[in-house]
């Protein structure tokens, strides 16, 4: 199940000119506000008609300006989860959830009501009305409602942006469940690195209406060009990791392709796959294997690329076995260490955070 988008739309102060393929799994449309993300997802949903281009789901054309095809939204079968839930206020939660079912084509398959209610933890809410739900509950019902219309793909426009951190943490596991249990492809609009690193397989980075980068999460976030996109504090690479063991001193050992990392106790069993995020500003470089250092996590690496930014800093892209790491150091240090592509060094990692929990633990 793949979605291909190639559209052009002039918004006056911004021209959105975007082409990408969403191969399945979660594809994130990532970018700052005003980068054209919502324009793209609305065009896919059929809520906005682009001035020109082509949108296709598998072999089915949804929009084609040359052959004048524009399938109306109610025939596209794309479940849309909006940032502001948009539950129907006059219907109970149950009737909100079942609203789309009567329009699904006969014989279309999809999860049943009780499965979805169970997956999203909303069974107890069924008789209630949207006006009495919390923000997080509303959003879960909205996700269930989209799922139960038996869509070919889910579209999610910043589904967590209107929620506070606690509510976000409440919903993220459900989104992970959705990804891992239903296998439904999802186009996920977000400006949050944390969400994208945790959920997405593919990332399409939008910048001022253009595609700035496309690739896997690991590739995209390890590209030095992303430092400008994300800002110094957010830039960092994402690495796949496996839990190897829990140590009695409260540390969990993870293996990445280039070695082992120690993190504060995680609640994942040995063997579980996860993702870790290492911020560029948390990596220090050393030419020799450092000794007498409090940092636990040191990975051998080779310099792949050095990108100068504005100011006194440079961004160094490192190859750590199969993975890529970013380090932000000063231009002066880079010169003093004689760093250039091909030079071997050691990456001292001050801090690692877990970016992703896969479901199906234990």
């Amino acid at each position: 199940m793949s979605l291909s988008v190639d559209i052009r739309h002039d918004l006056g102060d911004l021209t959105v000119e975007v082409a990408f393929e969403a191969p399945g799994g979660i594809t994130a449309l990532f970018g700052r506000s005003g980068s054209g993300k919502t324009t793209v997802i609305n065009a896919v949903a059929g809520l906005l008609k682009p001035q020109s281009g082509r949108i296709a789901m598998q072999s089915e054309l949804l929009f084609d300006s040359t052959s004048k095809i524009n399938v109306p939204p109610h025939h596209r079968r794309l479940g849309y989860v909006f940032q502001d839930a948009r539950l129907f206020p006059h219907l109970s939660v149950l009737r909100n959830l079942t609203y789309g079912a009567r329009f699904a084509p006969h014989g279309s398959s999809g999860p049943a009501l009780d499965e979805v209610a169970d997956l999203l933890g909303i069974t107890a809410l069924l008789p209630r009305h949207p006006g009495t739900l919390s923000g997080g509950e509303k959003q879960r019902v909205a996700i269930g409602r989209a799922l139960l219309s038996h869509p070919q793909m889910l579209l999610m426009d910043e589904p967590l942006a209107a929620l506070d951190t606690a509510r976000k943490d409440e919903i993220l596991p459900y989104l992970e469940q959705l990804r891992d249990v239903t296998g439904l492809p999802i186009l996920y609009v977000s400006h949050s690195v944390t969400e994208v690193a945790r959920l997405a397989a593919t990332v399409v980075v939008l910048d001022r209406g253009q595609v700035a980068q496309v690739g896997t999460v690991e590739q995209v976030f390890s590209d030095p060009a992303m430092v400008r996109q994300l800002g110094l504090r957010e830039a960092g690479s994402v690495l796949p990791a496996t839990v190897t063991q829990h140590h009695p001193d409260g540390l969990t050992e993870l293996s990445v392709s280039g070695g082992n990392l120690f993190l504060p106790q995680m609640d994942l069993p040995p063997g579980a796959k996860t993702r870790v995020r290492i911020l560029a500003q948390d990596v220090i470089l050393s030419r020799e294997l450092p000794t007498g250092l409090s940092a636990l996590n040191i990975l051998p690496a080779t310099v792949r690329d050095i990108r100068a930014g504005g100011g006194p800093g440079v961004v160094v892209q490192l190859q750590c076995s199969d993975d890529l790491l970013l380090a932000r150091i000063t231009r002066r240090s880079a010169k003093a260490l004689g760093l250039e592509p091909g030079v071997a060094c050691h990456a001292v990692i001050k801090s690692v955070s877990v970016a992703r929990h896969d479901v199906g633990r234990g």
Partner: protein, 235 residues
């Protein structure tokens, strides 16, 4: 109740019954058109939208006598449209109670459209978009989302239209005259009683009845609208 029946004379009863009948049919006939026109004015863009808006509101700004006269010269039995209606459908409007329904409907139409249009504009189009992404066609979206959400406005519009129809005088008397037992509505009857010496008591009785009907309609609509609003908020 028995004393009330005896309290009103036969001509007064006829006027009250006719007014209720005329107002009921004027409201029922107006509702679907008012819904369609309100939806068009609130949501659709099409050439001639301003013209439609002006035509709908025209009866509000014209002297009712002028509206009645316009009806007479287009729908009278010897006028082209009126003659055609009579030949084709056997429908005669001028000087009949059916004509009173038409006059009352036209006079109440702009009031209904205003109330319903405001209600439609208050419905968040994002909800309608959400329904369409769930597979609902435009007609379904209107029937299952828009219509239930505008119910309080719809009720308010219907009551306004009904009240206007009950009270319509100028256009009605010009188009269908003031024939007791046939086209004499409540306001026409009040007017007639005031023209004859000693008719004040009968006129006053009809005034009391008018006040009663108006109050009852207002209270009923208030209760209906409250119940509809309660259903929307779901509390």
């Amino acid at each position: 109740m028995a004393s009330l029946i005896g309290w009103l004379g036969p001509q007064e009863w006829q006027a009250l019954a006719l007014s209720l009948k005329v107002a009921f049919w004027a409201t029922v006939i107006n509702l679907p058109f008012a819904l369609l026109v309100s939806q068009a004015l609130a949501r659709w863009s099409f050439p001639g939208k301003q013209l439609l808006n002006a035509i709908v509101h025209l009866p509000l700004f014209l002297p009712p006598v002028v509206t009645g006269y316009l009806l007479l010269i287009t729908l009278g039995r010897r006028a082209p449209v009126g003659a055609w209606l009579e030949q084709t459908f056997g429908l005669v409007l001028a000087f009949r109670w059916t004509g009173a329904v038409l006059a009352a409907a036209i006079m109440g139409f702009p009031l209904m459209v205003r109330a319903i249009r405001l209600a439609i504009e208050a419905v968040d189009p994002k909800l309608e978009q959400a329904a369409s992404t769930l597979g609902a066609s435009r007609v379904w979206v209107f029937a299952t989302i828009t219509l239930p959400l505008i119910m309080p406005g719809l009720i308010a519009g219907a009551v306004l239209g009904f009240a206007k129809a009950m009270g319509e005088f100028g256009a009605t008397i010009t188009f269908v005259s003031n024939i007791p037992g046939q086209t004499q509505t409540l306001p026409s009857a009040v007017y007639s009683f005031l023209q004859v010496p000693g008719g004040e008591t009968a006129a006053l009785r009809l005034v009391a009845v008018s006040v009663g009907v108006a109050m009852a309609a207002l209270i009923a609509s208030e209760m209906l609208a409250r119940r509809a609003a309660k259903r929307i908020s779901g509390t």
